[in-house]
Subunit: 155 residues, 2 copies
């Protein structure tokens, strides 16, 4: 079964601001269903759409099923069926053989940045760039599904 293993970290915004980096991709996403055992997310990127079903997190792992769908239909699903959502720029940052996914949240979550790294096993080791801050893996308030209902500006 497809399992996502990932760790999450805050980002040092001062160091991040000094980096040369590629343009971010604008992501808009919302949830058709969200509870601790299951989230059903629809995401719209610059070019396409996705529907993603994720299970409960156990440590750093969770079941994840993702399907690409037409962008226009993903937009309609968000408009018709998602109660909460968020927007963010995503940056893909290669470092020492891994790619970090860095999210710069917008709107109600402006000011928050989170970096994620996907691993092949829970005990895989990796190098951290200088701009990686404190680890927040497993902290529920940093889940995107949580940020869509209790955004950063309310913390």
């Amino acid at each position: 079964m497809p399992v996502e293993i990932e760790r999450k970290f805050l980002v040092d915004k001062t160091l991040w601001g000094k980096l040369e980096k590629p343009a971010g991709n604008l992501f808009r996403q919302g949830y058709l269903h969200a509870d601790p055992e299951k989230t059903i997310r629809v995401r719209v990127t610059d070019t396409t759409g996705f529907i993603t079903i994720k299970g409960a997190t156990s440590g750093t792992s969770r079941l994840e099923y993702e399907y690409e769908i037409p962008k226009k239909e993903a937009e309609e699903l968000l408009d018709n069926f998602a109660e909460n959502g968020l927007t963010k720029f995503r940056y893909f940052m290669p470092f020492q053989g891994k790619t970090w996914e860095v999210d710069e949240f917008l709107a109600e979550n402006e000011g928050l940045m989170i970096a994620e790294i996907e691993l092949h096993s829970e005990d895989e080791t990796f190098e951290k760039p200088a701009w990686i801050g404190a680890e927040v893996t497993g902290q529920k308030k940093y889940y995107n599904s949580q940020l869509s209902v209790n955004p950063y500006k309310n913390w």
Copy 2:
């Protein structure tokens, strides 16, 4: 936006039993989310899988988005994420230029048969085969999502 327009009828089981018909396709399905405004269904057929998002029914119409997914993943989604489900044989029955979809329910819904016809508009006219019985369009207890929680044997 993709809208499904459909009408539902009971089936005269005596007349149905005398028909020559193709073999039925075994469908297993369950719900990742079900409320009056939105259902998220996963279906496994003989050959493949589907994830389908449907909106609230208004008259004979509802929004419907359907995506084909690998059969094995559909089975895993049902096993991991669906709380209720049902199984049925589906028959595709051509008649006067339209195709009726006839469901013969199994297990907890054994004894129930429903025929559906998809229309291009709410007022489209069509011919009914002799084995079509009373119309049940819009009757909630006949929704598949309802049959998965309150099956026919409990009525």
